[in-house]
Symmetry: C2
Subunit: 190 residues, 2 copies
DNA sequence: CAAAAAACTTAATGTAGATTAATAAAACAC
DNA sequence: GTGTTTTATTAATCTACATTAAGTTTTTTG
């Protein structure tokens, strides 16, 4: 198991060596190539993914058949479709590696057992979710209060490296406008 | 303490009578009149609120000084500003009762103690957050994939009662368009 | 219940960003 | 390294919704 997950957990709760060992028994590492899918819409999402390296995107299709990026996950983020994961129903979203990615995985069938053995992880996941939820609310706020151009400039200023790593049409989709528009904005002045 | 919180918790974890008693020692009930503030931007948000009755809104001011509704909380929802709550820094959002509201409150200074005594609540809050987070991601998806008019119609179809209870200009703000536009949409056909 | 404030409506005008379409440049595959 | 696919650019036209502003209805308050 990657040390990155251990390091991440350490920022929220302190595990004993014993607990770390137990954790290692319950997670696996997986590798995905560029554009490979971790989950396709229609399948049940039975795993939670921690991104060790690379970038994932969660997306789905709108009525017009256009792919809409709901979310990016980068190093140090957890992703899953909680709707599907918790209900066992087929997912309506897909999860794909934008670039080559390494992930640490926990399976739904094992999670409760793990959490029972290492209750500190309940606290860890709760805290991680608090941050993710707060960030998601803030994103909504930005969507409504910034123009498309402002959204791009503010995002690019906050995540300059990320903006370089990800294809422009995916970034445009994530920020809620067209690639053509992003192209125009970039032409103006970087 | 209201039975509604107990009932809500029961949907996620099973508390013993002993645990319920402990919980009661750590929470309080508060009552807020219409338009009364639970939290004002600039203050530190040191509480988590569970809505027993009524409607709360979380909002902040954009650069133009216009109030933007970030979130509504109705019966059975928890709200807080996690940024402020977890960091102790002043909040940038306000929390206000839209209509007379009764809330069950837990204080930040007591929460860890309570969670230590009743670890099941870690699990409860984790599960509640998973839902809230998933809902927030879905909202983002709707914002980008539905037109303003579709967003209103879909929201009104899903929450017909809520749409009646809340002033139109707040609903418009929450859905990300102007009250004038909502007025026009409603005039067309309900 | 009268006056003031708050919330809602209507209509004219303006604009950010979508759409379409065609071309160009990268990235990929054999 | 040449052909093919994927991604990015540019420009003309179009539209959903914002803005402004004036008027109306509803709610609140003393």
């Amino acid at each position: 198991m990657s040390q990155k997950l251990i390091a991440h957990i350490k920022r929220f709760v302190q595990l004993t060596d014993e607990e770390k060992k137990i954790l290692e028994d319950y997670v696996q590492t997986e590798q995905y190539g560029k554009k490979e899918h971790l989950l396709e819409a229609g399948e049940v999402c039975s795993k939670k993914y921690f991104v060790v390296n690379g970038i994932l995107r969660m997306y789905n299709l709108n009525e017009k058949g256009v792919e809409q990026v709901i979310h990016f996950a980068i190093e140090g983020w957890w992703v899953t479709d909680f709707f599907s994961y918790n209900s066992g129903k087929p997912s309506r979203v897909s999860l794909q590696a934008v670039e080559e990615a390494e992930v640490t995985v926990i399976d739904a069938s094992l999670e409760n057992e793990l959490l029972a053995k290492v209750p500190k992880l309940e606290s860890y996941f709760r805290q991680v979710l608090e941050r993710a939820y707060a960030a998601s609310l803030m994103r909504t706020h930005y969507i409504f209060n910034l123009s498309a151009e402002e959204r791009y400039r503010s995002f690019a200023a906050t995540y300059p490296d990320f903006v370089q790593r990800v294809p422009q049409y995916l970034l445009a989709s994530y920020l809620g406008f067209t690639p053509e528009f992003l192209s125009k904005v970039r032409a103006k002045k970087e």
